[in-house]
């Protein structure tokens, strides 16, 4: 029990992480670490072509290889009505190809064997007769008249166009543009990238044919949602499906969707009556699972001469790949991109978007991002910076002039979001002061005269996280609400069961601290359970920075519910009426007589041993949280770079990051999230891209072609904070996991463009490789 003097390590404490004890000893339990009795191994044969008809598949030689137990094809899956599955965007996706392959790396057949090496050997013995078809590699090609139709499986699909979607007020926006002195435009491609967590995706399906029980170990960020989807897809009774997400080696959105491998392994286990393990190789992960971004964007910003922003227009063309499988709320076709007005008081905005099928992998996921807010933030922050140059106004001043002011919150944006809170000027000024912005501008001039190219880039992002209120937010009809269950044991120790699932964010510590704050039980006395659908309340999982906004709120509220009951128990123990009891940091005392005191632990014991007549025994509860609004973290990132005009190489000299994510539960963990996010933001700006050749061959198919920054390339970061609590969240927290990946790419790119603007460079599409920067300089110089 806590002693009188011991401080409760609740909100605001840098509690060292509870989960680390197993990880630093090599005793984590990641998916590939599990070995079940009788377990078989699955390997997947993938298409070498981007687009080809399948004329026949001969699996006989593979099936004869000793050690091979089964070879599964689309035909076999079709017999069980499982050759196709629904996607998270109301489309269908092939589980194993039957008619044709639609992207390089698509799943064609699977081998189940006693040993993983044998399974791979057998893949080479499968003979597939392909007839190559013309590939469609870009969305522009896809929408050309006469382009080969990719989705011939869909009766009504006569071309490659998937959707057209508009939001905002077109007339008001047109009017704003008509009144503008200046219109600034930007055409850019936010390239296809891949979250590529260090651990790839995988599962072990263990179906017991005698009981019908299906236990599926899976690298899933959203185990409950997956359970429901499995029940719907496979027709299995939901009570017999148990999804266990063990320790996960990073997710970043990649582990949200249902992948064909999961479905095949489960079907195989059902048919064979033995557990089946499937673990992707890195190349499989990069070429077939949830990619991110891939937006071709055209933006226009209308301003008055004095810099006043009047309106914003954006047209998007999304490359969705062969199956429309974006993981996002169903009401919105391009996620939350329409938060693109960002941090600015922009009276009018209009967004239109089209999606196209291409012969590329499906699965648009939000790579460390809340549903396309990254693309939105990039667009507006690039436009604003360019507008400043066009108008001859300093980019910082143009932002300060147009920011939504503190007193305007809650603020309704032109596209209908209600921003809960913010103080953009303070965050920006802190960043400017810290980096010494005004002096840097002078130094920049001086160095330019010496032939040195220094660039300063700013980005003032507004994020939108914590989806979301049930009225607007669902995935496949499942409302995006989450639960927390708290049980306090007789000895005063507790177990908290949550619907979200950490992939490294530290939930086992952070959520224990929320309970500690509310009840005064130390975090080390609270076990946090997650990732097992049989043993946690329902919820939609961890992505889009939603755990703290949703599950964090549920946790605080369930703890308060138990505190109310403990208050009654305390009154009983203290022999006073409830109104005479007050609570502080784990102690219930009699008002005016602070030495008459019982602890939360005393109350917990009493709940099972000495409770008043008529009271329900026990001290446990469950709460589901339906957020009243989203939360809106924000901040300003200031980046300074030096560009070598002769090589195009650019080096980051300083990164100053001011983040406001509301109340920080564990500042140490928050800072870790920001450092990681700034690194992934840098990666996207500087090197990460999944590229394809003109035949649709995926070039970024391994870590030698898809570049990820090591410690050597990664910049150093200076972190600062402001705190503007969310007014509607029970503990004022907003979520932080993704802010830095959302906000920082624009800051890095703005810095490079800032250095090159006087040379005439107006845009370079990410990633800003040295080669591209060098070419841009050459082009600008007319070389």
């Amino acid at each position: 029990m806590a002693t009188q003097a011991e401080e409760i390590r609740g909100i605001g404490h840098r509690v060292r992480r509870k989960e680390d004890d197993r990880f630093i000893r090599g005793k984590g339990s990641y998916l590939d670490d599990f070995k079940l009795p009788g377990m078989l191994h699955m390997a997947i044969l993938r298409s070498p072509y981007a687009h080809a008809a399948i004329k026949g598949i001969d699996t006989s030689a593979a099936a004869e290889l000793p050690g091979v137990v089964a070879v599964v094809t689309g035909e076999l899956m079709a017999q069980h009505n499982l050759a196709w599955m629904p996607t998270l965007s109301y489309d269908t996706q092939a589980v194993l190809a039957t008619d044709k392959v639609r992207f390089q790396g698509q799943e064609v057949a699977a081998v189940i064997a006693e040993d993983p090496y044998i399974a791979k050997d057998a893949l080479e013995l499968i003979a597939v007769d392909y007839e190559p078809l013309d590939p469609v590699v870009t969305p522009q090609q896809a929408l050309e008249p006469g382009a080969p139709v990719i989705r011939t499986d869909k009766q009504d699909q006569k071309d490659n166009h998937i959707y057209h979607w508009e939001t905002g007020d077109k007339d008001a926006t047109d009017k704003a543009f008509a009144e503008a002195d200046v219109v600034v435009t930007l055409d850019t491609h936010y390239p296809r990238s891949h979250p590529s967590p260090l651990e790839t995706c995988g599962c072990i399906a263990d179906v017991n044919p005698a009981t019908g029980q299906a236990t599926i170990y899976m690298t899933s960020q959203a185990p409950h949602a997956i359970r429901t989807v499995f029940a719907l897809v496979a027709g299995l009774p939901e009570e017999n499906i148990r999804i266990i997400s063990p320790d996960i080696g990073g997710g970043f959105g990649n582990k949200v969707p249902v992948y064909p491998g999961y479905v095949v392994a489960t079907a195989a286990s059902l048919l064979l009556g033995r557990p089946v393990k499937w673990v992707e190789e890195r190349t499989e992960n990069l070429i077939s699972t949830g990619f991110a971004r891939d937006f071709h964007m055209h933006g226009e910003l209308a301003l008055k001469k004095d810099g006043t922003m009047l309106g914003l227009r954006v047209n998007l063309l999304a490359d969705e790949g062969a199956f429309h499988a974006d993981a996002q709320p169903s009401k919105f076709k391009v996620g939350l991109f329409h938060v693109v007005t960002g941090s600015y008081d922009l009276p009018a905005a209009h967004i239109s978007a089209d999606g196209a099928y291409t012969n590329k992998a499906p699965g648009g996921v939000a790579y460390r991002c809340s549903f396309r807010v990254t693309e939105a933030s990039y667009m507006i922050e690039r436009l604003v910076q360019n507008a400043a140059y066009e108008l001859g106004i300093d980019p910082a001043d143009l932002r300060l002039k147009n920011f939504i002011r503190k007193e305007q919150f809650p603020y309704r944006s032109a596209t209908g979001f209600e921003y809960d809170s913010g103080d953009y000027h303070t965050a920006m000024n802190l960043a400017l002061d810290t980096i010494g912005y005004r002096e840097l501008r002078e130094e920049q001039e001086r160095l330019r005269a010496e032939g040195k190219l220094i660039g300063i880039g700013l980005a003032s992002f507004t994020e939108i996280v914590g989806a979301g209120p049930h009225k607007d937010y669902d995935i496949l009809g499942l409302k995006m609400n989450d639960g927390a269950e708290l049980r306090i044991h007789p000895t005063g120790k507790a177990i908290l069961k949550i619907s979200s699932k950490t992939q490294g964010q530290g939930h086992e510590t952070t959520f224990a601290q929320i309970v500690a704050e509310e009840l005064g039980i130390q975090p080390e006395d609270i076990k946090v359970v997650h990732g097992d659908t049989d043993n946690t309340p329902y919820g939609l999982g961890t992505y889009a920075s939603r755990s703290t906004p949703t599950v964090g709120a549920a946790t605080a509220l369930v703890a308060r519910k138990l505190r109310d009951k403990a208050m009654k128990l305390a009154a009983h123990l203290l022999e006073v009426s409830e109104e005479d009891v007050e609570f502080s940091r784990g102690k219930f005392s009699v008002k005016g007589a602070p030495d008459k005191v019982v602890s939360i632990q005393d109350c917990a014991f009493a709940a099972y041993t000495n409770f008043p007549d008529g009271m329900e025994p026990g001290l446990e509860g469950v709460t589901y949280y339906d957020p009243p609004n989203l939360t809106f973290p924000f901040g300003t990132y200031a980046v300074m770079v030096e560009v070598d005009p002769d090589t195009g190489e650019w080096k980051v000299r300083r990164v100053v990051a001011v983040d406001d994510c509301g109340v920080r539960i564990n500042p140490m963990i928050v800072e870790g999230q920001i450092q990681g996010g700034l690194t992934e933001g840098f990666a996207i700006a500087a090197m990460e891209q999944i590229t394809f050749d003109e035949n649709g061959n995926c070039i970024g198919a391994n870590f030698t072609d898809y570049l990820i920054p090591t410690a050597w390339e990664t910049p150093r970061f200076e972190l600062l904070e402001t705190v503007t609590p969310s007014p509607h969240h029970p503990i004022g927290a907003k979520g932080v996991g993704e802010s830095a990946t959302v906000g920082s790419p624009a800051a890095y790119v703005n810095a490079v463009i800032d250095a090159l603007w006087p040379l005439g460079v107006r845009n370079i599409d990410m990633p800003l490789t040295s080669a591209k920067v060098w070419e841009a300089i050459q082009r600008a110089r007319g070389a």
Partner: protein
């Protein structure tokens, strides 16, 4: 083929296919699953172990190539029930998030600190540049390694450090 290795101080023998990768020998045959796999191209370092004290990527050696050699994996860092100073520092400095890269990072750190107990920021970054971390941005990994070096250099920690 028979292969005999001393792994974390214990001699182990197995009869394996010549093509079995060292990482699979460690994980599947010896059932030490703290060593991870993150790529197919020797790029990520999640599989790093020490072979006679030198960091190697165990996905890029065959098990039989380790015959007669000494291997240290993350499971061998704890000595006499005590955390190695590197392990303690990784926790203390928040040098890990998902934990997947951590075993490899710690083993590279061990080899580094035994050569150079007080490495600079640059020296640490260079030493771990064969290991990818997707979560932390490396800042706290560097801090942890430097803190561990200091702890190991301090006289009280020398017993744990000499493992």
């Amino acid at each position: 083929m028979r292969v005999t290795v001393t792994i974390n101080g214990v001699e182990r023998t197995a009869d394996v296919e010549p093509r079995l990768l060292l990482v699979h020998l460690i994980r599947e045959v010896f059932e030490l699953t703290g060593t991870h796999i993150g790529c197919d191209t020797t790029s990520c370092g999640a599989c790093t172990v020490l072979l006679d004290g030198m960091p190697v990527k165990s996905c890029t050696l065959f098990g039989v190539q380790a015959d007669g050699h000494e291997i240290t994996t993350v499971e061998g860092l704890v000595q006499g029930g005590q955390l190695h100073p590197i392990q303690a520092a990784f926790k203390e400095e928040h040098g890990l998030q998902c934990g997947y890269c951590t075993p490899g990072m710690m083993l590279v750190a061990k080899a580094l600190l035994e050569r150079n107990p007080t490495p600079s920021d640059e020296e640490v970054r260079w030493a771990i540049s064969g290991n990818i971390c997707r979560c932390t941005g490396y800042v706290n990994i560097v801090k942890a390694i430097q803190a561990a070096g200091n702890a190991m250099a301090a006289p009280t920690a020398s017993a744990a450090a000499s493992a």
